[in-house]
Symmetry: C2
Subunit: 122 residues, 2 copies
């Protein structure tokens, strides 16, 4: 079973966390069978944590988990903090395949998506 | 003359600011004439500031400026801090058309873009 965990920083502002959870729901709705489920997890300040999110997926039978950092820049969170959480889980469950995907801001399709959305509103 | 200012939070980590400036360059390269120029500006911690960015565009002849918040969630920065900066400039130059565009995280095409990029790497 293949699952996706969207990881975000987490905010004191609960509405911001809810935006990430809603992204997971929207992606689940248009997901054409690539993933058995799509969930959200947070580095801090919100629940579930990345650890909780991963462990829940594993307990539900996940054997392959893609982790997508919902971050705009490649700071310490993307390069160190998120991988550190994955490592903890990987050491505990060595047979689970956990793949860290490129973070949102590095997506080469983003510049065009932004330009298109702006031209629709001109 | 119509211009685009991409506004980001700004970071102590200069490489993150550079990512935003590079986004502006990439968007300029694929921009099919919608804008005369595409620039980056920062709310804090990096240069140019939003004010500096807007004033520079106006001094260069801009009459219409779209402002695109490069933010993932609709927090205080998007709802208050960025509009406040625009208001200052608008009061000084009432004839310039300054349009605040929807922030990145609200883009309805984002969920599909993310799913597609993930499936390309599965």
């Amino acid at each position: 079973m293949s699952h996706l965990l969207i990881v975000a920083h987490g905010s004191r502002r609960e509405a911001s966390n809810q935006e990430v959870r809603e992204l997971a729901i929207k992606m689940s709705q248009i997901n054409a069978g690539s993933y058995d489920s799509i969930q959200a997890g947070f580095l801090e300040l919100a629940e579930p944590s990345i650890l909780e999110g991963l462990i829940k997926l594993i307990n539900n039978g996940a054997t392959h988990i893609d982790v997508f950092p919902y971050f705009l820049s490649a700071g310490r969170h993307v390069s160190e903090d998120v991988p550190e959480q994955l490592k903890i889980v990987q050491q505990q469950w060595p047979d689970i395949k956990i793949n860290l995907k490129p973070y949102l801001g590095s997506n080469n399709a983003l510049p065009e998506l932004i330009l298109e959305s702006l031209s629709n509103h001109l």
